[in-house]
Amino acid sequence: MQDTDIAFDGEVAQPVDPGDTLGLRVLHNAGWTFIYLGFLTLGFVVHQLFITTWFAQQAQSELALEREEQWEETEISEVVVVANPDNPNEPIVVPESTDAPDQGEQGRPLVLKVESAPELGTAFALIRIPRIERLQEGWNVVEGVRTRDLRSGAGHMPDTALPGQPGNAVISGHRTTYGQPFHELDALDPGDRIEVDTALGTHIYEVREFRIVKPTDTWVADPREGAWLTLTTCHPKFSARERYVVFAELVFGPNAEAIEVMS
């Protein structure tokens, strides 16, 4: 008897080409794999563009209330300071009991309005850029640049000056996800205005220059003479390869005149 497969009904099964079966199976599985990968990729795009933005918008509503409360609780004081040649972010505070300070190399003393430092993760400012449509209404700024801080709002880098204070206030924001607050930062030109509201009032900056740097270029956050606002975001769009940085100088606000005199 021949060595062939026998079916239940007694008929001899037709010989099948194993090559064709394997090929078809591979093709079938590959097709489904690509379909799954396509859905995963589509899901990724939808998640990044829309779902993260939905999360950010929900967070912004809560942050707006939190910011209002923060402003009511913020302690505002006036201090006499002189410029600190070693660190423009931290002017030297002149104790009240001291007589008029030596004006020598440290420059003229001035009265500066200062606010108490916000806690990490707390909304404390609102940034508005009239030139950029999505920022005309403003976007809340939280203290800190941790991942969770930046998911809800723009983040102020701790250890840099607060907006409206002498030195360099650095604020970072997402460009393509989580509400895309800084999506059109590259549309700004020198002279464009950036407004930042804090408990002290509205601080108006004017764009002076912009740079494209590496993510490791921390020099952009270095203290600067005068009062500056530095905005950073990812560059190019849909890539984290570089950073787009906008430098703006304080031109108007509660401390603008005093800081101009100091520097």
Binding site: W32, Y36, G43, F44, H47, Q48, I51, T52, V145, T147, L150, G155, M157, V170, S172, G173, H174, R175, T176, T177, Y178, F182, V213, P215, T216, D217, T218, V220, A221, T232, T233, C234, F238, S239, A240, R243, Y244, V245
Partner: protein, 50 residues
Amino acid sequence: MISRIWRLLPGPLWARVIQAVVLAAAFLVALHFFYDWLGKAILDQGGTVG
């Protein structure tokens, strides 16, 4: 694949429905964290320096 998983779920219909909902929710949460991680790695790190 989905129908294969459905067939593998034990118990009566109502128990399988509950299991399916829990599994789907867990899958979506895991997918959210995966997408979040991937997005931060390649698309947008929030613009921070340093």
